[in-house]
């Protein structure tokens, strides 16, 4: 790309070098030690062939979950979110020329509000784990207490991210246990840990082991003084009660299931909603409904005085860039799926997991299910050989998953977590069963 000589002339300089004369000689470099550029066709060929080595869920049965799922995405979702008016725009700072993005995000907020029962929803966090970290800090801001209770049954990602996110507020994270027979939370243990310093209690429905925890509805009744934070799978909310209906103050979740690909773990979509009374303590961008000069309905970013560009070190969060396009995908997805579709999908996920579980139970040597409870779309199996080894054996037989649990729930290190979705066919289940039968 040649430099435009006319511009150099306007500036009265002979070469671009003169425009860099303010860089002290001692910090200048001669160039970048990378190969020279290539043509578009070479780039596409190179990157494509590199990635072709991946084993994809497009070509192989996939039984991995643990927070990210292989769900059906209507082609229309990708068609809309790849429209460049959305994809190549920046944050809608200028509301008048950005109504499309603003309304789409308001609609996303509205869908999540309806699913969760939270009136105030932000227009996204990075993922569920950072949403959890932000929720803990928000609890501290609301009631200025110092402890945050979380289940022992938690993904390693969430546990690790939470630990880092509370560095600023100095909140103490305390784990409560679970019933080893059902996988549900241990109310006795929770009771023993709730005291006057507890700011918030976090519970997941379904939990990390896929268990629909019946005790979730009892927490707010028993501990009304602590804030209740509920982590959800949005697909499950097609059939499960909105957490707002059992006392949640904050609801978070992983929204990838709503129309975004797995993408090797990113971008994801951190859902975040709260009761309206707490909205001024909420992190992240929020879109509000308003009107224009002529009295027409319009949308704008609002409550910006909470945010870093205005409040700086006193902001509710440092978040700036979020996952807006994934939020639009979620709105389009829920638009197409609708009430009937979401209910059907929730049921299908449960039914497919049940079918997988029943088939696995027939395989000799596997203790299945390891937990006796209601499962959404995941369940645990105790395996006769080390889960890490089994995972590799399955991969070599062309099957993706399940997930060894040692890193996440150490006390269940001899178990694997299997997930199913509406994408799981009877044929996939058959392949998994014959692969496992061949293992022993």
């Amino acid at each position: 790309m040649a430099v435009d000589e006319r511009m150099l002339k306007e500036l009265g300089v002979l070469s671009v070098d003169e425009l860099f004369s303010d860089i002290p000689a001692s910090v200048r470099i001669a160039g970048i030690p990378l190969p020279n550029g290539m043509s578009e066709m070479e780039v596409v060929r190179t990157v494509r062939s590199l990635l072709d080595r991946n084993v994809t869920a497009a070509d192989h049965p996939c039984f991995l979950g643990g927070g990210v799922y292989h769900h059906f995405i209507p082609a229309a979702v990708s068609a809309i979110v790849s429209r460049s008016e959305f994809q190549t725009s920046y944050t809608p700072y200028q509301a008048e020329i950005s109504q499309g993005m603003l309304q789409a995000l308001f609609e996303y907020q509205s869908y999540i509000a309806e699913l969760t029962g939270m009136e105030a929803v932000n227009s996204s966090n990075y993922d569920a784990s950072t949403a959890l970290g932000e929720a803990a800090n928000m609890c501290a801001r609301i009631n200025e207490r110092s402890k945050f209770l979380v289940p022992e049954v938690l993904s390693a990602g969430k546990r690790g991210v939470l630990h880092n996110y509370v560095r600023g507020t100095g909140m103490q994270v305390v784990e409560y246990g679970f019933d080893p027979l059902t996988g549900e939370l241990d109310m006795e243990d929770l009771r023993s840990k709730v005291d006057g310093d507890v700011s918030g209690i976090y519970v997941e429905v379904p939990n990390f082991l896929g268990v629909i925890d019946r005790n979730a509805t009892e927490i707010k009744k028993e501990f009304p003084d602590a804030l209740l934070v509920v982590g959800v799978d949005p697909i499950s909310l097609g059939i499960l009660k909105a957490p707002g209906d059992y006392g949640a103050d904050i609801v978070i979740g992983e929204g990838q299931s709503l129309g975004s690909p797995m993408n090797f773990g990113g971008p994801l979509l951190g859902m975040f909603g709260c009761r309206q009374e707490h909205v001024r303590k909420m992190p992240g961008r929020v879109i509000g409904m308003t009107r224009d000069l002529a009295g027409r309905r319009a949308f704008a970013m609002t409550l910006q005085t909470r945010e870093q560009h205005i409040r700086r070190e006193k902001a509710t969060s440092n978040i700036c860039t979020n996952e807006a396009l994934m939020a639009v995908a979620a709105a389009v997805y829920l638009g197409i799926v609708g009430r009937t579709g979401l209910r059907s999908l929730a049921k299908l996920n449960m039914e497919r997991a049940r079918a997988t579980m029943d088939a696995l139970c027939q395989v000799k040597g596997f203790e299945c299910p390891a937990l006796s409870s209601f499962h959404f779309n995941e369940f645990t199996v105790r395996t006769p050989i080390r889960p890490e080894k089994l995972s590799r054996v399955l991969m070599r037989k062309g099957i993706v998953g399940g997930l060894p649990l040692a890193r996440h729930v150490p006390s269940m290190g001899d178990c694997m977590l299997f997930a199913a979705t509406e994408m799981t066919t009877d044929e996939d289940i058959g392949k998994l069963v014959s692969a496992l039968e061949g293992v022993l």
Partner: protein, 510 residues
Amino acid sequence: MTYHQASYDLRLIQEMRGESDLVLPPLKREIEVPPNLLRTELDIPDLPENEVVRHYTDLSQMNFGLDNGFYPLGSCTMKYNPKYADLLASLPSVGEVHPLEDEEGVQGSLQLLYELERSLCAIAGMDAVSLQPAAGAQGEFTGMLIARAFHEANGEDRREVIVPDSAHGTNPASAAMAGFDVIVVPTGPNGGVDTEALKAAVTERTAALMITNPNTLGIFEEEIVTIGRTVHDAGGLMYYDGANLNAVMGRTSPGAMDFDIVHFNLHKTFATPHGGGGPGAGPVGVRKRLEPFLPVPRVVREEERFFLDWDRPQSIGKVRSFYGNFAVLVRAYAYILKQGGNGLREVSDRAVLNSNYLRSRLTPAFDMPFKQLRKHEFVLSAKKLKDEKGVRALDVAKRLLDHGVMAPTVYFPALVDEALMIEPTETESKETLDRFAEALISVAKEDPQTVKDAPHSTSVRRVDEVHAAKELVLSYLGLKRKLSGNLAGLRTNATGRKCESCSLLLDPKG
């Protein structure tokens, strides 16, 4: 001026009614849900797919992206987003790969991560990079956690992070989130950090200085060597906010400037689309002595195989799930291959040339605080316009929208009155810059009322942000509750996408 944005009175999708045409596999048997958790109500509409697609297509026409026109948003580096990168990011070998697959199944992804880390090291003069942070602000937070862990490992209690007053708001917010106290240093007469004030602020409590160079005024910190020495001599770390890296690639690097930690904004410098707010990606690079503190897992290579290494006892742990925004990383990887080392240097050359050229075109017409050379961006002041005609920077910004260009960043940095912060980027032609300069100059000469009433040709007129903050309607559920006495009104005539009376749902006089 021929720009006219589409303007439709659209219902919310939640206000539409219809019938779903979605076909799903049949449910083979009934399922059982615990009665206390069984949902009974779900108020979201069933709609046919074509109506949903039309609704969002209409909305897309009421939005403005880089592909619609010039986007001189200061400090945001809105350069053209190449389409080959989108093509690659949409491959099934990207989208349909689960992050928890056995390493044997994801060798392609791991190799890409590994090589992208090495390329970013080469560009920034760093020794190691983590691709985990989801955005620039999260990169800053990660960098601050690394600084904290480093000092703690040395048995030092350093609680203060210094930021210049011209810094991006994320800098102090990120430092505070990592548990630091924030100390602000002023800008000196040359537009750079006031080095005397900095020397006074640096103490044995200083954990790090966060700085962007060139800074948000577009000025290169000529005292960078002195600044670095001041901080390092006191035992502090130098943090480079990479938001403005687009200005200096191949001319200098954070490593050459003796920085210890740097974050990159891949959605700025490396041309990945910003998605109307995100996703971004904010990798963090460090010098050798800080490598043990990077987030886990690390991608490591053993001969031709790639692994995820979790065994890093000094690591800060995790800042988000998994390994970063992979689909964004793929785009940046492709962009770096396409440009190459030579092409990236040309990127910065052109970005700086475009910025200085545009500044020169605008100089007689607008006040330009600080006389120094500029790098990738510059800041104008509309103070004269405000004093003489009552036209504020905000009005100028809104009026520019009528010309079919995005407005510059306004009122930032705060040390410039009525600031208009302009970053043209390297991907714009002289003709585009000339048209923009003419537009901006014409706005300054125009009838002030026309400017104050702007915009006139966008989807809606000037939006009432005060009303939004007062009413706080943040969802359809919130709207329903607000209007609970009048719910019937919400449902009447609720067929079709267009809605002449939508505005009446919020009382215009309210």
